[in-house]
C-alpha cells in the first residue's frame, strides 16, 4: 500500500494506491490520520484502491468521523469502481457525499 500525502498551507491531498484490506489497515489508519493534524481541507484520491474489505471500510469510517469532529472539509477527488461498488453494496453510496462538508457516519 502506497499512501502519498502532499500538503500546502492548511490543505493536503492524500492518494492511496493498493488494497485497503486487513493487511494494510494499520498502515492506512496511521498514514491517513496523521496529515489531519494541521489542515483545514483534505482531498482524498481513492482511484488507486482496487480491493476493499470491512477493515478498509472501517478505516474510511474512522477517517470521516475524525474529520467531522475536527471540522475538516473532506473531498474525495477520485474513487475507483471497486471502492464505489463496495460502498454501494453496503448501502453507503452516499458516504463520500458531494465531497463537501464531512459527511456524518450513521
Amino acid at each position: 500500500m502506497q499512501i502519498n500525502v502532499t500538503s500546502a498551507d492548511d490543505s493536503c491531498a492524500i492518494a492511496l494506491e493498493g488494497d485497503m484490506t486487513i493487511y494494510t489497515a494499520m498502515q492506512c489508519k496511521e498514514e491517513m490520520l496523521a496529515p489531519l493534524q494541521d489542515c483545514q481541507t483534505v482531498a482524498v484520491d481513492l482511484s488507486g484502491v482496487f480491493e476493499m474489505d470491512t477493515s478498509g471500510l472501517q478505516i474510511l469510517a474512522l477517517f470521516l468521523k475524525e474529520t467531522d469532529e475536527r471540522n475538516i472539509r473532506v473531498r474525495f477527488s477520485a474513487v475507483s469502481d471497486a471502492v464505489q461498488e463496495f460502498l454501494s453494496f453496503c448501502g453507503l453510496s452516499n458516504i463520500l457525499g458531494t465531497a463537501e462538508a464531512g459527511t456524518g457516519v450513521h
Binding site: 486487513i22 474489505d53 477493515s55 471500510l57 472501517q58 453496503c90 448501502g91 450513521h106
Partner: protein
C-alpha cells in the same frame, strides 16, 4: 483432468489405504495397546469416507461411517480389541475393497447382493456400538425436532399475528465479533454470499461501536449491519451463511412471519439507542412506523411473556457439537505416522513400460553405434561412444529401478492369509517376515503372489503339525512360518520355511513310484527325492484337507515360477521343518549378456550366471568319453551347444573351442562354444508362442548390427546337463 481421473485416483488411493488398514488390523492383535496401529486403521476408514463423500458415493460413505464409529470407540479406549472384533473389521475391510471395485463399475447404486452384504456387516458392527457414538445423531435429530417444533409454533403465531409487513421480508441483525477480521473473516464477504441466496432489500451499516481514533484498533471489527432480505431459502440455509462467525458474533435472524414482540426484544437488546434501531427497522421495511410506535409503547410488557421469543432469536449456540462426546476428545492425530507420500508420485505402469522399451531400443542402437565406432578406428569417436554407452547403462539402471518395488507389501499380505488359515485349521501359527525391503521387478512381484500363497498354505496345512502333536514332540505349541527374501548373484531368493514335521522321504518315494513318476528310488539324493513333489499330480497329505488338497499341486507352483525364468527347490529335515527356495531374476526386461558364437550363430548367456571361461582342450579328459570335465579337480558336467542346437560344424572347431562355466543356484555346468565374443547389453524379447517350447532358449534379442541372436535358458540347460550327467554316471556305475 476431470472427475473420472479424480475417481481413478480415489480408487487407487482407497486400495492403498485398505492395505494399510489390513496390515494394521493384523498387527493389532499382537499389539492392542499401540495407539498408532488403531490410528492407522481409523485413518484408512476416515480418509475413504472423506473422499467418497466428494464423489457422492453414498453407499460407501454410509458403510465407512459405521466402521469409523466402531473404530472411534476403540480409539477412545471405550471398546477393547477382541479377536471377534478384528474378524468383523477384516470382513469390513474386504467388503470395502469390493465396494471400491463396485465404484469402478460406474453404477450409481449397489445391487441387492452388495446391499445385503453391507447391511449384514453393518449389523454386526453395530453390536459393538455403545450409546455414545450415536449421540451425535441423536443430538442432531433432537435439534431438528426442536426446530420443527419452533417452526410449528411460529406458524400458529403467524396466524394470530398476521403479517408484520406487507412484504415477506427476512430481517437480519448482525453484530460481528471483534476478532473476526483477525481470523480472516470479512463480514461483507458473508453478506455478499447472502446476496446470492436472495435479494437484499435494504442494508444499513452501523459504526456506533467505532471508538475514537486513539483507541481504534484497525484489525478489530466494530461494524454491524441491519439487513432486510427477500428470499425463498430455508431458515437453516440463511443461518448457515454465518456459520463460521456465529460463535463469536451476535447473529439474529427473523423469519418473514416473526412477531412484533421479537422486534421489540431486538430493539431492547441491541446496544444502539432504541429509537435509532426502530428507525432502521422502519427504513428496512421490516416494521411500519405504526407498528414501531405500537411496539415501543408496549415495551412495558413483562419479561415472562417475552420469554418464548428468545427461542425465535436464532442464536445458534444451542446445537453445538461439543455435546457429542467428550470421551472422543482423547483422539490423537494419526496421519503423522503415514509413510511419506509427499516424495512419491503415481505413474501409470504403461508409461514405465514404454520408457523401458525405449531404453531397450536405445541400448540396441547404442551397441550398433559402438560397433561402427570400433570398426572405424577413430579414437575420438570411440571415446565418445564409450561415454555414451556408460550413460546409457546408467539410464538403463535407473529406468529399471523405477520398476523395482519392495517385496514387503506382498509379504505383509500373508499375515492375513496365515491368520485366516490358522483359524480355519485350528492351529496356532505365527508368520515372521524378513527381507521385506528386498526389491524386485513389479511384474515379478505381481506374479509371485499366487505361487507364494500356495506354498504358505501348504506349509500351514501339511508342514506344521497340530499343537498337541508339536507338544508331544517337545516343540513349542505355536508353529512358525517364515518368509524371507534376499539378493543373490543377480537373482532374488524368496524362502518359505516352516518348523513343522518335514517331508517324509519314504512317503514321497512310494507315492512317486505309485504314480509312475520314477521306477526306483535308489541312488537318489535326498534333495532330488524332495523335489519330486513338484512333479505333476503329487500330494503327500494323508488327508485331503479343505485348503491345499484341491488338486492344484506343487507342479503348478513350479510352472508359475518357471514362467518367470525362476526356479524352485525344496529342502527338508525330518522333525525340524521344510524350506522352499524360490529363485527369480531381478527383472524380466534387460540383462547384461555374454555373447558366444556356435557355428554360424550367436547366443547370449546372461552375464550374471557366467563364472569363468576356460579353454576346452586344456581340461578335456583326454581319451575319455565322459560328459564331464575335470576342472581343477572339480567334476563339471558340460553341454556342447553345437550338438545341442544342431549347428553346422565349421570343421576345425575342436581346436579352438572354449568352455563357458555357468552357475545357477548351486549347480555349475560348462557350455562348450566355438567363439567368445564379449559382453553386450541385451534386451530380452520374448519368443512367440510357436517357439516357447524350444528347450534351452528363453528369448531372443537383436544386436546392434541387426542380427538376431537367441538367449540361452541357463536354468534349463543346467538342469538338463545335470540329469544327463547323473543318468550317464548311473549307467556307468551299473555297467
Amino acid at each position: 483432468m476431470d472427475m473420472d481421473d479424480a475417481l481413478q485416483t480415489f480408487i487407487a488411493e482407497g486400495r492403498e489405504l485398505l492395505e494399510d488398514m489390513e496390515a494394521a488390523l493384523l498387527g493389532i492383535e499382537h499389539d492392542p495397546e499401540n495407539p498408532e496401529t488403531v490410528n492407522a486403521i481409523f485413518r484408512a476408514a476416515h480418509t475413504i469416507k472423506g473422499s467418497a463423500g466428494l464423489f457422492g458415493l453414498d453407499y460407501l460413505v454410509s458403510f465407512t461411517h459405521v466402521v469409523e464409529s466402531v473404530l472411534d470407540q476403540v480409539r477412545a479406549g471405550e471398546l477393547a480389541v477382541s479377536t471377534d472384533l478384528v474378524a468383523v473389521l477384516l470382513t469390513s475391510c474386504d467388503h470395502l475393497s469390493d465396494l471400491l471395485s463396485w465404484v469402478s463399475t460406474g453404477e450409481e447404486n449397489l445391487n441387492d447382493d452388495m446391499q445385503r452384504k453391507s447391511a449384514s456387516i453393518e449389523q454386526r458392527l453395530s453390536t459393538y456400538l455403545s450409546g455414545s457414538s450415536v449421540a451425535a445423531d441423536v443430538v442432531e435429530s433432537s435439534a431438528q425436532e426442536a426446530d420443527a417444533a419452533a417452526a410449528e409454533e411460529n406458524d400458529v403465531c403467524a396466524a394470530q399475528d398476521a403479517a408484520v409487513s406487507d412484504q415477506d421480508l427476512w430481517h437480519l441483525s448482525l453484530r460481528f465479533g471483534h476478532d473476526v477480521l483477525r481470523h480472516g473473516m470479512d463480514p461483507v464477504s458473508f453478506i455478499r454470499y447472502l446476496a446470492t441466496l436472495g435479494t437484499i432489500h435494504h442494508i444499513e451499516t452501523l459504526w456506533d461501536e467505532l471508538p475514537a481514533a486513539d483507541k481504534m484498533d484497525p484489525e478489530s471489527c466494530y461494524t454491524g449491519f441491519e439487513i432486510s432480505f427477500i428470499s425463498d431459502e430455508s431458515k437453516e440455509t440463511i443461518e448457515n451463511v454465518f456459520e463460521f462467525v456465529r460463535e463469536e458474533s451476535s447473529i439474529r435472524i427473523f423469519t418473514p412471519d416473526s412477531r412484533r414482540e421479537e422486534y421489540i426484544r431486538l430493539i431492547q437488546e441491541l446496544p444502539e439507542e432504541d429509537m435509532k434501531i426502530g428507525e432502521i427497522l422502519v427504513r428496512c421495511g421490516t416494521l411500519t412506523r405504526c407498528e414501531l410506535e405500537a411496539a415501543l409503547s408496549s415495551q412495558q410488557q413483562s419479561d415472562e411473556s417475552l420469554k418464548p421469543i428468545g427461542e425465535y432469536l436464532l442464536e445458534e449456540k444451542a446445537v453445538q457439537p461439543e455435546v457429542m462426546s467428550a470421551a472422543l476428545n482423547k483422539q490423537k492425530s494419526v496421519k503423522d505416522a503415514r509413510p511419506p507420500e509427499a516424495s512419491l508420485i503415481r505413474v501409470d505402469a504403461e508409461k514405465l513400460d514404454t520408457l523401458i522399451n525405449l531404453v531397450g531400443e536405445l541400448i540396441i542402437a547404442g551397441a550398433g553405434t559402438n560397433m561402427i565406432a570400433q570398426r572405424s578406428g577413430m579414437p575420438d569417436l570411440m571415446e565418445a561412444t564409450e561415454t555414451l554407452s556408460r550413460l546409457v547403462e546408467e539410464v538403463r539402471d535407473s529406468a529399471l529401478n523405477l520398476r523395482m518395488v519392495q517385496i514387503g507389501a506382498t509379504f505383509n499380505r500373508f499375515q492375513r492369509v496365515v491368520r485366516d488359515v490358522s483359524q480355519e485349521l485350528g492351529k496356532d501359527i505365527v508368520l515372521k517376515i524378513s527381507g521385506g525391503e528386498t526389491e524386485l521387478d513389479k511384474t515379478v512381484v505381481e506374479k509371485i503372489a499366487d505361487p507364494l500363497t500356495h506354498l504358505v498354505r501348504n506349509a500351514m496345512d501339511h508342514g506344521i503339525e497340530a499343537a498337541d502333536i508339536r507338544e508331544a514332540k517337545g516343540k513349542p505349541a505355536q508353529g512358525n512360518l517364515k518368509l524371507n527374501a534376499y539378493h543373490d548373484a543377480g537373482s532374488i531368493v524368496i524362502e518359505v520355511s516352516d518348523d513343522g514335521g518335514g517331508l517324509s522321504k519314504e512317503k514321497i518315494l512310494s507315492k512317486a513310484i505309485d504314480r509312475g513318476l520314477i521306477s526306483d528310488g535308489s541312488g537318489m539324493a535326498d534333495k532330488e527325492i524332495f523335489n519330486l513333489i513338484f512333479e505333476a499330480g503329487f500330494s503327500t497329505a494323508d488327508q485331503i484337507s479343505n485348503l491345499s488338497g484341491r488338486g492344484v499341486g506343487m507342479d503348478v507352483v513350479r510352472r508359475n515360477i518357471e514362467a518367470l525364468r525362476g526356479t524352485v527347490e525344496l529342502d527338508s529335515e525330518p522333525g525340524k521343518g521344510t524350506t522352499v527356495k524360490i529363485r527369480l531374476p531381478l527383472t524380466l526386461a534387460i540383462i547384461d549378456g555374454f555373447l558366444v558364437g556356435v557355428g554360424n550363430s550367436g547366443y547370449v548367456i546372461p552375464l550374471d550366471m557366467v563364472v569363468e571361461c576356460v579353454e576346452y582342450g586344456a581340461w578335456k579328459e583326454s581319451g575319455s568319453n565322459s560328459s564331464c570335465l575335470n576342472l581343477r579337480g572339480e567334476v563339471l558336467p558340460y553341454i556342447r551347444l553345437g550338438d545341442y542346437f544342431d549347428e553346422a560344424s565349421s570343421g576345425q572347431r575342436r581346436e579352438r573351442e572354449s568352455v563357458v562355466v555357468v552357475r545357477y543356484g548351486e549347480h555349475k555346468v560348462g557350455l562348450v562354444v566355438d567363439r567368445l565374443m564379449g559382453e553386450f547389453q541385451t534386451v530380452i524379447k520374448p519368443l512367440g508362442r510357436m517357439f516357447s517350447r524350444i528347450s534351452g532358449i528363453s528369448g531372443f534379442t537383436i544386436l546392434g548390427s541387426g542380427e538376431v541372436v537367441l538367449i540361452l535358458d541357463v536354468p534349463g540347460l543346467v538342469q538338463e546337463a545335470e540329469s544327463y550327467f547323473s543318468e550317464h554316471e548311473k549307467r556307468a556305475i551299473s555297467a
